[in-house]
């Protein structure tokens, strides 16, 4: 990143915090509703120091890791099925989009009633959050394999499973990576929705707990963590991987 961009970004956040501090100092809102930036910062430090936030983060990542792994697995299987079989796609392909358009929080009551108020219910919601977007992208990935790759491979004697694994799978990797990035993003949102209504542990649960005890600085602090963790994971892992693949595949310069 160019230093000038970094400076602009830092300047922006300084201005935002400045406005926040100014509104706080105006005394327009009661302090219990509108804590100062310093207080939020201190509450974050405290939360990390006494380990409660770290425990919550670890619990959330555990739910996410299990849920996302399952979502990617199921999504890939479904996507390959719908991408390869026209029968399957004509029969149920449309419902994939319908399922994808259901916001994950809608699954929470169903999960709790079906499974109970526990971590498995949270993971269930995460799986539902990621599976359909993964399946849709894998279906696109299968359809978007350039026909000339298949033709060229066939003239070199490749067919059947060999053709599938050596040509179609690697050729569809860019869309597959997009699928994984989106599955992660949707799962992360689903995770927060699920945890918010669960009875812990997890970041979402800590957020709800803070609300119940009217600790506004913790509420804001956890929202900041959710945003920061989300963007770091996206930027450091998934976007980077996706761009790398896209570049190698000649899809971007």
């Amino acid at each position: 990143m160019k230093p000038s961009i970094l400076i602009k970004r830092i300047l922006f956040i300084v201005v935002v915090i400045g406005i926040w501090q100014a509104v706080y100092m105006s005394g327009y809102f009661p302090e219990i509703q509108f804590p100062s930036p310093i207080r939020v910062f201190n509450s974050l430090i405290e939360g990390f120091a006494d380990g409660t936030l770290i425990k919550a983060l670890i619990a959330s990542f555990k739910h996410l890791l299990i849920g996302l792994t399952l979502a990617i697995t199921f999504g890939t299987l479904l996507g390959v099925l719908f991408g390869k079989s026209r029968q399957a796609d004509e029969t149920a392909g449309m419902y994939l989009i319908a399922m994808q358009s259901i916001p994950s929080i809608v699954w929470v009551p169903l999960a709790i009633m079906l499974i109970g108020l526990n971590e498995t219910a949270v993971i269930f919601v995460v799986v539902l959050g990621g599976t359909f977007v993964m399946a849709l992208n894998v279906r696109t990935a299968v359809h978007s394999v350039p026909p000339q790759f298949i033709k060229a491979a066939r003239t070199m004697g490749s067919k059947g499973l060999d053709l599938f694994f050596k040509v179609e799978v690697p050729a569809s990797l860019p869309y597959f990576m997009t699928g994984i990035r989106l599955a992660w993003a949707f799962s992360w949102r689903a995770l927060m929705a699920g945890e918010l209504l669960s009875n812990g542990p997890g970041l979402g649960y800590s957020l709800r707990y803070a609300m119940d005890f009217a600790v506004m600085e913790q509420v804001i602090g956890i929202i900041i963590i959710v945003g920061v963790v989300g963007s770091i994971v996206d930027q450091m892992i998934f976007s980077k991987l996706e761009k790398k693949v896209m570049k190698r595949w000649g899809l971007i310069k």
């Binding site: 350039p146 000339q148 790759f149 033709k151 060229a152 491979a153 066939r154 003239t155 070199m156 004697g157 490749s158 067919k159 050596k166 040509v167 690697p170 050729a171 990797l173 570049k247 190698r248 595949w249 000649g250």
Partner: protein, 264 residues
Amino acid sequence: MFLQIKEVTKRFEDQQEGSFEVFSGVDLKIEKNQFVSILGPSGCGKSTLLSMVAGLESITEGTIFLGDEKVTQPDTDRGMVFQQPALFPWLSVTDNVIFPLKGKLAKDERKKVAAKHLKMVHLTRFKDSYPHELSGGMQQRVAIARALAMDPKVLLMDEPFGALDEQTRHILHDELMKIFEETKKTILFVTHSIQEAIKLSDRVIVMGTRPGRIIADFSVDIERPRQRDDLRVIEMEKEIMSLLKVEINKVLKEELDHEAKHTY
């Protein structure tokens, strides 16, 4: 006879518009170690015919023999180079050339064969590069090396230089001529460029359109390298040009008639 195309017909069945016949009863015999071009206006089915030899297109009627074997599906005895290089972006240049050799040769043997063919197309320096790092002309040279590496009986080329700029095309013409002299492969080359066909080939098959069929068969008995201003080249160019003009006019007239019918 080495490559025999016997009474071959290609018909596409379309449920809405009925069947469409690209060409019918095409007969062609090609001898070993010859460079044969198939030349024709777009729509004459020359690429379809080549794909049928490759085994990528089904044969509606008739048969194609390579040696004693009937062509039913693609196999490594026929190498093909397309207009698009179709290199696999996830493999290095060397691994692309090795692709058709997997399971056929031992590991070091594969590397040796790939190195030999990359040398033939002067790309040894780029053996560890990835396709996206190469220019279009270089990519097409890798595609040629890849097709030759599996030592096919015949090399099929479907307008391989059509997407390249003029300079690069001339360089690749010279390289292909060298490769042809070195390997003495039988080459079947589809193009719509009269100059390209005459410059490269031992024999030029001219196809007409509506219906697709062979309308002429020229032997080019001019020593290589052929110069564009050679009188014999110019003479042949003119002759083929006048043949093709009739075909192109036929297409134009049909399009104009169609236009007239549908304009009020």
